[in-house]
């Protein structure tokens, strides 16, 4: 059994209420930080913990916090990104729904560390019931003196607000989130300036994922060094993984970073193996944006080493043979699933969610979807595969925000690893409507730039 730092108490009855949460040791990190530590000491602990952003990019949190500009007389903000919209990712919802005070506690401790007196949780509009859960938890925290003026008599003030989005995936991008939070259309901003310098209301701002902020609670409670003992290499601590697809036990799991993918996929403690005894065809290990990897690269790297559930191991081999840990949206496909159809489905999502600001993404996501649809419905031509490759190449890295990359990568990886299946679709348009291609051969393709 791996250690659980975030969700070990989710099954305690009434844990969503302040009283039970407090009785179970909740809000200790706030007491410890506010009463015994300076804000810089909290930042230092986070740095020591090696915590990396849990939203997908995996940027070291302590470093992000230390970039925060601190000009005289200008307020600073902490914004929690709870706009969890990546297909295959539902871990933040689980945390907020089950144990909302954990996030509130994390927000207070983190806000203190950053010197923010106003903080926001920006939650996706589709999570309206979770918003109400959070609002209730926040009201309880106010009532018990953990929010508002002069918290715990320390002189520290904090107001915490929950704001909801209106159904746009793009608002999970931090600068688009800030625009939306300011009441504007959620278009990403150009960087620089980065939010750490000019974020919300043109003031220095840190935007962190729900899980990242929650992880600050055990870090402060037990110390950064203790936290860093869990995990492997630069992947420290625990991570929430939302597992779905053709597995026996879909759900949210808290794992110690560094456990083998094989263990995660097949052990009864986690996914419990492929459903109905089928064979594994492919896996998207970090949410819809990360490259899909074929069965033979899931549990082993190209070098033949065990692939681990860690930032480094999952991206081992780069995009040629690896993928990413991303947000921890672990999607598993069995041998009966069609990669063309799946890629089209993802492309349709990104076409729908592109904000439309940058021309490569606005037009390109639309065309990827159209061309994939053509192939999927049996009207594809061989040159369409090259066209698809060409479009995704023009999108990747050529947009203001990473949505372009997120839209390009799944298409690129699908062609890279499953080109045969695409060609089979085009050559057998009738057959492809009723039958699936099955597993691809174990070979790695060299692709043009």
């Amino acid at each position: 059994m791996g250690r659980k730092l975030l969700i070990d108490k989710v099954n305690v009855p009434g844990i969503e209420t302040y009283d039970v949460y407090r009785k179970e040791g909740g809000y200790r990190s706030v007491e410890k930080a506010l009463k015994t530590m300076t804000p810089d000491e909290v930042v230092e602990e986070v740095k020591k913990s090696g915590l990396r952003g849990r939203g997908g990019a995996g940027f070291p949190t302590g470093m992000k916090w230390s970039f925060l500009a601190k000009p005289e007389g200008i307020p600073r903000y902490l914004v929690c990104n709870a706009d969890e919209s990546e297909p295959g990712t539902f871990k933040d919802r689980y945390l907020m729904e089950k144990i909302p005070h954990f996030l509130v506690e994390g927000m207070i401790t983190s806000s203190y560390a950053l010197g923010a007196n106003t903080s926001y949780i920006y939650i996706r509009g589709e999570y309206m019931w979770v918003l109400h859960i959070l609002e209730k938890a926040i009201a309880e925290a106010y009532a018990n003196g953990f929010l508002g003026k002069n918290i715990l008599g320390t002189g520290y003030n904090l107001d915490l607000h929950v704001t909801c989005g209106a159904g746009a995936y793009i608002c999970g991008e931090e600068t688009a989130l800030l625009e939306s939070l300011e009441g504007k259309r959620g278009n990403p901003r150009m960087k620089p300036p980065f939010p750490a310098v000019k974020g919300l209301w043109q003031s220095p701002t840190v935007v962190n994922n729900v899980e990242t902020i929650a992880a600050v609670v055990p870090i402060v409670n037990d110390g950064g060094e203790e936290y860093a003992k869990i995990g492997i290499g630069k992947s420290t601590g625990t991570k929430l993984i939302s597992a779905c697809g053709n597995i026996n036990k879909p759900g949210v799991y808290e794992i110690e970073l560094g456990i083998p993918v094989e263990e995660f996929l097949y052990s009864d403690e986690y996914c419990g193996g492929i459903k109905n005894g089928k064979k594994l065809k492919a896996c998207v290990p970090g949410g819809s944006s990360v490259p899909i990897i074929p069965h033979f690269l899931v549990c082993k790297t190209a070098k033949g080493e065990d692939r681990l559930m860690s930032y480094e191991s999952l991206s081992d081999g780069g995009f040629a043979t690896g993928s990413m840990l991303g947000s921890g949206g672990f999607i598993v496909y069995d041998e009966d699933q069609c990669v063309v159809r799946n890629t089209w489905n993802f492309a349709r999502f990104y076409r729908h969610e592109s904000c439309g600001q940058c021309s490569p993404c606005r037009e390109g996501t639309g065309w990827m979807e159209k061309v994939l649809y053509k192939i999927e419905t049996g009207h594809g031509q061989m040159e369409d595969i090259d066209l698809l490759w060409d479009i995704q190449r023009r999108i990747e890295g050529n947009t203001i925000c990473p949505l372009g990359d997120a839209a390009a990568w799944p298409v690129a990886a699908a062609i890279r690893h499953f080109r045969e299946e695409f060609e089979w679709h085009i050559k057998n348009p009738q057959l492809a409507q009723t039958k699936n291609y099955g597993l691809v051969a174990e070979k790695v393709f060299e692709m043009a730039q």
Binding site: A168, I170, R185, N187, M190, P192, R351, H352, E353, S354, C355, G356, Q357, C358, S359, P360, C361, R362, E363, G364, T365, G366, W367, K370, K374, L387, D390, I391, R394, G397, N398, T399, I400, Q449
Partner: protein
Amino acid sequence: MDIKANFKNKVSESGSFSNNNGVDVKLAYIDNVPYEIKPGETILSFIRRNFGQELVPTLCDAPNLEPFGSCRVCSVDVALQQNGSVKTQASCHTPVMENSYIYPSSDRIQKLRKNIIELVLTDHPLDCLTCEVNNNCELQEVAAKVGIRDVRYPEGKNHLDRTKDLSHPYMTSDMSKCINCFRCVRACDEVQGQFVLSMAGRGFDSHIVKGSEVTFNESDCVSCGACAQACPTSAISDIFESKSIAKAETTRTICTYCGVGCNLEVATVNGKVKSIQAPFDADVNKGHTCLKGRFAFSFYNHPERLRTPLIRKNGELLPATWDEAYTYIANELTRIKNDFGPDYIGGISSARCTNEENYLMQKFIRKTIGTNNIDSCARVCHSPTALGMQRVFGTGAATNSVIDLQYTNCIMVIGANPTDAHPVTGAKLKQFAMKGPSIVIDPRRTEMAKYATYHLQLKPGTNVAMMNMLLYYIISEGLEDKEFISSRTEGYDDFKKQILANDIDELSKITGVDKELARKAAIAYASAGNAMSFHGLGVTEHSQGTYTVMLIADLAMITGNIGRRGVGVNPLRGQNNVQGAADMGCQPHQGAGYYDVTNPEYHKMYEAFYDTKLPMYVGLKIPQMYDAALDNKLKALWLMGEDNVQTDPNTNHVKAALGKLDLLVVQEIFMTETAMLAHVVLPAASFLEKSGTFTNGERRIQRVNQVVQPIEGTKPDGQIIIDIMNKMGANEPDYDAETVLKEISQIVPFFAGVKWNELGDQGKQWPVLADGSDTEILHIDTFKRGLGKFHNADWKESQELVINKKEFPYIITTNRELEHYNCGTMTRRTNNAKILTEDTLMINPADASKHSIIEGDMVCVESARGKIDVKAHITDEVLPGILSSTFHFPDMHMNDITSSVADSEALCPEYKVVAVNIRKSKGKYKGEKVVA
């Protein structure tokens, strides 16, 4: 080869580079060749500075907009070392990094650009041959440049069937041509600040909307046309097809409407004006104008233009030849001069005409006639500004320039409505107010007031009390700039004593402005570091106009806000050349260059310069001319381009005076209310048909260049004046701007270095020294008069209210609307009249309900002079007891009710305070317009 050796500057021992002046420079490499980086540069500006516009194509970038980074066509490869691994970056918004290697046209990049344009073209009609902007389309140009030959994508869903929007009198849109570059949205936000256009939908469904998805006509669009000019295709354009290359040639000239002095680029086809655009390189307006400047030009060849001289015979104005008209006038003027003396003749010049024409007008009156009875319409707008600022500073002109808005920390707008009356400067002020602290002092909640940090909504006619409140708080809070006061000013001790003697509660009661609000505003202005004030006719057109101007100047001096960037006292001049008309000497007390006509030394100088005898006493101001006419002391009056009957207060009084004259000559482009009373009407040429110079509100002398030939039968005003001078014995050469400007530069000291050929596109700000250098900021080290002089003034209620307020308890003030200019002679003859069709009376809901008036009711407004009917617009922009109305349409006769009360010092009429009573009108509006 050592690439650094290529760089012509030297490498210092430390390894850093220094240029030829020994200053360390930062380098970056373009295709492996080093170039110097300027601070704050983006990669794009860095490349363009060294290679010109051509090397890197762009679509979403525009010269007057902030970088946006959305089209990605400007992408370049950037490496940290020579031929190292590259990252593609959008050059338009990425700052150029020291020692980076930039590859603007690598194969990868060229392919990227081609692919992006290919994607864009999949949703753009390929009907270039029939497109308005064919050959002048940025998309077309970029597509050609990147070498698109075909589009590989199959036919798919697109937006080519979007309907056109032709609802607006000027603006048009065809969104099937839209490439989602956001340029129009940004122009609307960043240039005009109107926020009408925005992007709706997302991804492939993104589309530009006006307001809440309405048409141009239904939206809040102010028709400035910035979006149309910004649009790289023809998705947004105008009815004149301004972006079409059908324009054979373009002429750069200056707008004739307000005192902002926007540069215009006028396109002509076959000798006719086709369209007007705003040049991006103009210092004054940087690619922006309002709908008057850009669209309201079609008056110039309107069928109603006067095309022949008219002489009144048997009570009727009948066509005559120029020679008949000149002979008639010359005979009459000679007769009156001989029978009564030259002082029985007067002239009123026009701030709408050029400097050269104004100069000639006063020369004609002074030299040929021999009287100082010369005045101009500056009398009825900014004469108190000129006089008040002269008394305090020594110079009656704006101390700073509009560009100083970039350097200021606080603005104060007093009695001005710049977003309507000076739209281009107004947009800049609005942009400032949205970001920085601003104070607006105005009885109306104007658009500026809505954005202001502090809106001091005072009662009309209490400006002096308001200024005293601000001065009181600055002194009592100890915020005065003691250093500046002691070194640069005089008279402060007395001034301070009198200011502190004010009863602040009493002042608060008079103005109706809360003390605390006034205190906060005073502190904001005084502690800003750099604060600028702007004022307009809400300051000057009062019985205490000159005093208010002096107190505004006092405010600047007491806080040390004079003589550097981002500060000063900046009157927003109403007419295009109101500054110039006064500079040229169209004033009864001062000749060209502001020399006192009663000073023996200057008198001698003028006599010598004009080689004639001149009177050594002050002539008549405009209101005095009317009185003199009624008194039989004035027999002839020459009006150049002014409709006094409609625009001067107390119409019946003006009409009676003009009716008494033996000779009334009117130079006009249309048959105005005044011209109808004339004995001789002379058809003049409009600003598009002549050359000369206008001086804008920031003292900028700019070249007006003839765009088209004068309409047949008309002559430039300057030529008409010269003709009559020659008819009366002078020997002047034909009107030529350069010749007259040369003469002006010999007598007006601050024009000393002004030369026609050296004014260039941007003009020069006077004083222009003999060596040709000009002046952006006045009073840097010392005031024109030496030390700045503090002047006190106590508030006095206007006689109009003292006498009439019992019987007429409401106060009506006058205001302007964006669409029309003054009495609308020109703008009413353009499509502007379709946008704003009539005058309206603003009335507070409380007052309206008291009189059972509902929106659109006709209201009878009655003063001691007369009554008018006007349509009610119920709004809380005015406070209870206060009314406001425009007077753009002649049918409305606003000036039937205004009074003859005028500024005690400069005789500027008090249009802004009239005691009236109101009732719901029983009769029908006499001039009711049919609204389509």
